[in-house]
């Protein structure tokens, strides 16, 4: 059973029949987390690095931004029994258009935002597939934590 995580969306579940899927990460970032003991999986798909851009939007939809979405993702997983030390954390996406530099490079800034938050909170990043000019789709099987990344035009691989 596929549970679809849309743009600016998050889903966390302990339903072992579920596969969490988020399609088409361009400059957006997908954060996939999995606790193999509690068998809890979570997937977040955020668009932008910082909620101070529009606090009202962040309140309405915290999953739009890294600094509000990531804490919400972890808290939801803790509620279902996940533990920080056991979580396998993967960062996916953050692509950029060619020659997209500095402030306009949202992909890079999105990635940096996640890294900063993880560093501050002593979360170890288990794996990553970020950057470049590609478009990625992510699947996380809650049954065993297997994570697949599909790159348009280049097929799917297990991470």
């Amino acid at each position: 059973m596929n549970l679809i995580v849309g743009v600016s969306d998050m889903k966390v579940t302990n339903n072992i029949k579920a596969t969490l899927v988020t399609y088409s990460l361009g400059s957006c970032i997908g954060i996939s987390i999995y606790d193999s003991v509690a068998r809890v999986g979570g997937l977040l798909h955020y668009m932008l690095p910082e909620s101070n851009l529009d606090l009202e939007k962040a309140k309405k939809n915290p999953y739009m931004f890294a600094d509000t979405g990531i804490p919400a993702l972890f808290k939801a997983a803790y509620k279902l029994g996940a533990k920080k030390q056991r979580l396998k954390v993967i960062i996916i996406g953050g692509s950029q258009i060619l020659d997209q530099k500095e402030f306009f490079n949202i992909g890079k800034r999105n990635e940096t935002a996640a890294r900063k938050i993880f560093y501050k909170n002593n979360v170890i990043i288990s794996d990553k597939d970020v950057g470049g000019v590609v478009n990625r789709t992510v699947k996380l099987a809650v049954n065993n934590g297997d994570t697949w990344i599909k790159v348009s035009g280049k097929g799917e691989r297990k991470i």
Binding site: S24, G26, L48, M64, S95, I97, L98
Partner: protein
Amino acid sequence: MSDIKSIIKKIDHLTPIPQVASKVMSIAEDPKSSMYDLSKVIIYDTAVTANLLKVLNSAYFGLPEKVDSVHQAIVYLGMAQVVDLVLLSASGENLQKAQEGYDLEAGELWKYSVSSALLARELAEKKGVKETHLIFTAALLKDIGKVILNQYVKDSFDKINALVTKQNFTFREAEKEVIGIDHAELGGMVAENWKFSPKMVEIIRHHHRPQEASISEFESAIVYMADTICMMMGIGVGSDGLAYRFHREVVESLELTESEFQKIIAGFVEKVKQLEAMMNI
């Protein structure tokens, strides 16, 4: 390199855009025209009328009662929105099919095109551009060249991809290098063939390089910007991914600051809902 003449000949294989599209556009741009002029043109195209009513009665619009005439539709939504819906309805046929060369499943190119069009319209309104229907339609049809080039991209994908991944080519530049023509150039030819206005032809032809447009530089910049954001948001993006160039001077010509740029992205979520309603056309 493929025989370019034979590629161009394939323009004739596209389903021509129904006449109703160009008619409603000219009505929309004529300040003297009335809602009666508009509804008269639409009702003669039964397929477009049926589509229009179907979408209007969808949950997205949440109208208080069932709409069963074009006239009523215009009363509820206003001329501008009905015109856009007609343009969508008239354009779907070619863009809804799968494009294997670009690794796009059925409906994905359509999704990409509709989201670009919605975003371009919003940007045009924000910037006070009058010809919003021109921009909407150009954004909607800008990738029509991909529908023809698809087969050739499929046959030469490895060569194109090698130029993109190893030599910093954009996907469009690599198409041009390997096949001899790119999807934007070909799209411009389609627009000419369909007797679109010179401005529309130019916007489609230059949607990746708006700084090279001569009669529609600002309009092309808006369509470029909408395209850029849709690419970044990944909605319906294929094997060409984000392999196009970012032209900072174009963004600056639209006087968009970094925070405004991000705010447009933040507004995209609401666009997606609108998009899902429009996708049924």
